[in-house]
């Protein structure tokens, strides 16, 4: 073969424009530097929150790792209980190795070849691949064993503890422009008029409005800066002067219904991410531990006295007889921009933290479900035959049970058993996992057609004809085509997840108090809709409707934007093509 390798490459002069993005940045660093500088300023402004976010991420990762790490021992424990401890140990080891191996399969490809060459074996290509996986598995299992069974584990957890502790300390000590410390809005009236403890002595309402305004201004600026980043990349550094994504973006920008959806979703996400900043009172004080936190207020007899939130909440309920409506103060000088709930808690605080709950559940459920759906659809459409049939059977079995019923059953079983998975978010995580389990068949069904279609394309055959591996073929030649579809179905379904969560909580299942959830607000306020306290059920109800509509509009717009046939007549792309 090599004898006839005609190297016509030598005859060819490398043109000057042949540079990679990296080189282009080196040649013309100014726009990139300006953009990065802007990004740094934006991040510095909110550095405290950035670290808080990192800390929370650590917490989530730590919890996931712990949960996964407990699987081998719990499997081993179950086996050991019936077959003796030796069998239990073997089962633990096997489970651990299998899990480690499953982790290595997608990442082994990025391990450099040198890692295997060290072994000095003469391996074929396939052998190489498996050797990499085996090596990685060995390293993972060895590390896990080291941590689990030797004193090194203690050192390791101490290290992790130190890091997370450091991050948390940084998060609380570093400033942020939207922090409560910088713009406090909780204080008390002074007997002589005016306010004590609020931002510049302004009224709590104004201080809160400033802080909330700042949050949205900051978020909008951040979004705009990200868009600018894309623009800078596109005009200065991208090698292709046009990509199919440009058309997608252009079509989306002209879709006003989609932009409306995007705006509402944006508000919803900002509400969730900056929940502590947009809450007039701290959720910890007002909702989670109301009897452990005191605050000062100006009593009727003109003295500044102190009371607990739990007592004040009792007096501030909106339950038909007594109403603290939107845009008003309660008797304790606490500003309630959306009024109070039927239990006297602050509605705005409840709503923003409830948005957080909904977002976490929605994203986790849809993310996990979509992942399962995509992986299965790729496998079943590439290999077809028995893989496809097995997946059809599994999904049909799950879909045969009505989703809401299945979710109720499983969530009750886990909650009654007090399973550790039912702890986070008072059942929120459990609910998200069940949603993922119940919803993946639907998503898989809806992308099965497109993925079968893609797998029939000749470029998949072409990839096979020059020996591309199945995994890479699926990733490069099939997944990008399914991504659009799953994005659409995911964003449509996320509204469904949010509304189902609310429905379950409304029924008293799902998420337990004290974790804030919109469905519970509606449940609590439903009997007061015809009274002065109408806002208790109405505000969260309207919010849910808006969010679900917005997610649907967004999904619709993404579908239209992705579809290249949406604007055949103005095909400027074809016009700029040409050449040769």
């Amino acid at each position: 073969m090599s004898t006839r390798q005609r190297d016509s490459t030598d005859e060819f002069e490398e043109p000057d424009d042949d540079t990679l993005s990296r080189d282009r940045i080196r040649e013309n660093p100014r726009p990139a530097m300006v953009w990065l500088g802007g990004l740094a300023v934006l991040l510095l402004l909110e550095i405290g929150r950035v670290f808080a976010g990192v800390g929370q991420l650590f917490g989530i990762v730590g919890f996931t790792v712990e949960l996964l790490a407990s699987v081998p021992t719990s499997v081993g424990g179950n086996v050991g209980g019936t077959l003796g401890s030796a069998a239990g140990f073997v089962a633990t080891a096997i489970t651990a190795i299998l899990m480690a191996f499953a982790i290595t399969v997608p990442v082994a490809g990025s391990v450099p070849d040198g890692a295997v060459d060290v072994l000095g074996l003469d391996l074929s290509r396939r052998g190489h691949r498996w050797a990499k996986r085996a090596e990685l598995t060995f390293v993972l299992v060895a590390l896990a064993g080291l941590i689990a069974y030797t004193p090194f584990g203690g050192v390791f957890s101490a290290l992790i503890g130190a890091i997370t502790g450091g991050v948390d300390a940084l998060a609380s000590s570093l400033p942020a422009i939207t922090s409560r410390d910088l713009i406090p809005n909780t204080g008390h009236r002074l007997p002589e008029g005016g306010w004590e403890g609020t931002f510049l002595g302004l009224s709590p309402a104004v201080a809160w409005a400033i802080r909330t305004g700042l949050v949205f201004a900051y978020a909008t600026a951040f979004l705009a800066w990200m868009w600018r980043g894309f623009d800078v990349y596109r005009t200065h550094y991208r090698l292709a002067d046009w990509t199919p994504r440009d058309d997608t973006v252009r079509r989306f920008r002209n879709n006003y219904w989609g932009l409306f959806g995007f705006a509402i979703v944006f508000v919803f996400v900002v509400l969730a991410l900056w929940a502590p900043a947009v809450s007039p009172v701290e959720a910890q004080h007002n909702i989670y531990e109301p009897n452990a936190h005191e605050f000062e207020y100006l009593s009727d007899d003109g003295e500044v006295t102190s009371t607990t939130h739990v007592f004040a909440n009792l007096q501030s309920r909106s339950d038909g007889q007594n109403t603290i409506g939107p845009m008003s103060y309660d008797d304790y000088g606490r500003w309630a921009p959306l009024g109070t709930t039927n239990r006297g808690q602050d509605m705005m605080t409840h709503l923003s933290h409830g948005a957080r709950t909904s977002l976490v559940i929605g994203v986790t459920a849809i993310g996990l479900g979509a992942l399962i759906a995509v992986v299965l659809s790729l496998l079943s459409s590439y290999y077809k035959g028995i893989t496809d049939i097995a997946t059809v059977m599994a999904s049909d079995t799950i879909q045969a049970v009505p989703a809401l019923l299945l979710i109720m059953l499983v969530s009750v079983v886990f909650q009654e058993a007090d399973h550790p998975i039912a702890q986070p978010l008072d059942g929120g995580l459990l609910l998200a996992l069940i949603f993922a389990f119940a919803y993946w068949p639907g998503m898989w069904r809806s992308i099965r057609g497109p993925s079968l279609q893609v797998s029939e394309q000749e470029w998949v055959d072409a990839a096979k004809s020059y020996g591309q591996t199945p995994l890479q073929t699926m990733r490069k030649h099939m997944a990008p085509y399914i991504a659009g579809y799953i994005l659409i179905y995911g964003s449509l379904l996320i509204g469904g997840v949010i509304i189902s969560t609310a429905a379950l909580t409304f029924l008293g299942l799902g998420i337990n108090p004290p974790t804030p959830e919109w469905g519970r607000l509606i449940d609590g306020g439903q009997s007061y809709v015809s009274t002065d306290s109408w806002h208790v059920a109405t505000i969260p109800g309207v919010a849910i409707v808006l969010v679900v509509i917005a997610f649907n509009a967004l999904g619709d717009a993404i579908r239209d934007a992705i579809d290249p046939e949406a604007d055949v007549d103005e095909s400027e792309a074809a016009a700029t093509g040409g050449g040769a």
Binding site: M1, T3, R4, Q5, R6, S8, T9, E11, F12, E14, P15, D17, D18, S124, R125, R126, G127, L239, A240, D241, W242, T243, P244, K384, G385, Q457, E458, W459, D461, A462, A463, K464, S465, Y466, G467, Q468, T469, Q472, K476, H477, P480, Y481, P564, A573, A574, T576, G577, G578, G579, A580
Partner: protein, 455 residues
């Protein structure tokens, strides 16, 4: 490898042991299972073909849609797994290659696909598309690969700055050029061209054909050119194989085959080429019916159901052609009825005398023979057959038809054996041209004579 030039000499020695044979296909079969768990009748897309491809030549593969030519091409580069038989590529049986050996071998044989819209991944730039084979085979360094892609772009008549464009931005002809560049990336020796120009405008077709010819000369390529456009085949191919229902009917040097076809199917196929001369003497041969279902190919010769020169039993030799056509049609309908499963509902409808989708055999009979004058002895047999078929004893009806009207073409063994006989490949010229037809046996008259007589 060194001595080869583009071979245009039709009279090359086609003996099996020729020293420069590159691909040797022996009794290759590719069957498709329909995927059902209990279905044991596969679709016989390629049903036992044998031929050689010489180094540096272009072998054309022609035939109507669905005759298995694309499947044959795909099997040759191992996109489909062969059911039986072997494909020897420089002496190695590639149907037995697995894993790394197959991966290594794939560099030698590549394919240009039919549809330029479907063969390029729209989400990748041209550079990424052409580079992928190089990446997969870890060819040299990244910079070398980029350089090679640009030189390939140049080679196929595009320009290097197209590297970062997307397939959307190109026309069909340009996309096919990109596909060809990708095919060439690994320096293959053998390329399967699966109808590379049939999706293109006629004006662009010529450009692509010329490009392919230039590339063949430059890189010493060997082509298997699959097409149904016979004029293109005549222009580009050194030898041609004519395929019908999974079998090669005739294979030989192009000019000879086009000017003096031996096989009745080749006759029929060539007669379909429009002739510029309106006073051309030979009539067009119209084939009746459609090709049989490849899941149920006929016993004997695959072309027997539609053959205009089918061998007839001596006692019926003088029977009218239209009656013969009627008999052929009748046989096909009975075969079809035998295969069809009747649902319970249809059995019930039949029982109480309602109309089913199986029109009664009498109607069929009238349709076929109503306007014809059928000799009495033939009519007697046909009535018998119709009666048997009417009682759903299709097997008996067919047997009766075969004993009366069957010949060696239908697989009836002249020596009285039970197994259906199939034709053999007869060498029909000095150049080693082969034809798969009983007509070349000395006992029977040659196809051309029969065609002239019967028309």
């Amino acid at each position: 490898m060194s001595q080869n030039t583009v071979s245009t000499t039709p009279d090359r020695d086609a003996a099996e042991t020729a020293p420069d044979t590159m691909v040797k296909v022996r009794n290759l079969k590719t069957y498709y299972d329909s995927g059902g768990l209990f279905d044991d009748r596969p679709v016989k897309a390629v049903d036992g073909v044998s031929f050689d491809i010489q180094r540096g030549e272009t072998l054309g593969l022609v035939g109507e849609s669905g005759c298995g030519k694309t499947t044959l091409g795909r099997t040759l580069i191992q996109l489909e797994e062969a059911t039986d038989g072997e494909v020897l590529f420089d002496g190695t049986d590639i149907t037995s290659l697995r894993g790394d050996q197959l991966y290594e071998w794939r560099q030698n044989a590549q394919m240009v696909f039919q549809d330029p819209d479907s063969s390029l991944n729209d989400r990748m730039t041209i550079g990424e598309i052409i580079r992928e084979p190089l990446d997969v085979h870890e060819w040299k360094t990244s910079a070398d690969r980029r350089k090679r892609v640009k030189s390939l772009l140049d080679e196929v008549g595009l320009s290097p700055e197209h590297y970062y464009r997307y397939p959307h931005q190109f026309s069909g002809g340009q996309r096919q050029r990109i596909g060809i560049a990708r095919t060439l990336a690994l320096n293959p020796e053998f390329i399967v061209l699966d109808e590379p120009v049939s999706a293109l405008d006629v004006s662009v077709q010529a450009e692509i054909i010329n490009l392919l010819e230039d590339l063949q000369e430059e890189f010493d390529l060997t082509y298997l050119f699959i097409a149904h456009d016979l004029s293109v085949v005549r222009h580009i191919c050194d030898r041609v194989a004519v395929m019908y229902l999974g079998n090669i009917m005739e294979i030989g040097p192009t000019e000879e085959l086009f000017t003096d076809p031996a096989n009745p199917y080749t006759h029929a196929l060539l007669s379909a080429i429009p002739k510029p001369d309106p006073t051309a003497s030979r009539d067009r041969i119209t084939l009746h019916g459609t090709p049989p279902n490849p899941r149920y190919p006929p016993a004997g010769c695959p072309f027997s159901t539609r053959c205009p020169t089918r061998i007839r039993p001596d006692e019926h030799e003088e029977l009218d052609d239209e009656v013969w056509e009627g008999i052929n049609g009748f046989r096909e309908i009975i075969r079809e009825r035998m295969r069809a499963d009747r649902s319970i509902r249809e059995r019930l409808r039949e029982r109480i005398g309602w109309e089913t989708r199986f029109a009664t055999i009498d109607e069929t009979y009238d349709e076929l023979f109503g306007d014809l004058t059928v000799p009495d002895d033939v009519e007697a047999v046909l009535t018998e057959v119709a009666e048997a078929a009417g009682n759903h004893e299709e097997r008996e009806a067919l047997d009766r038809l075969n004993t009366e009207f069957g010949s060696v073409c239908d697989g009836v063994d002249p020596d009285g054996g039970d197994d259906p006989v199939e034709p053999e490949y007869y060498e029909v010229s000095d150049s080693g041209r082969l034809s798969y037809c009983h007509r070349h046996d000395d006992e029977h008259r040659e196809t051309a004579t029969v065609l002239d007589n019967r028309s």
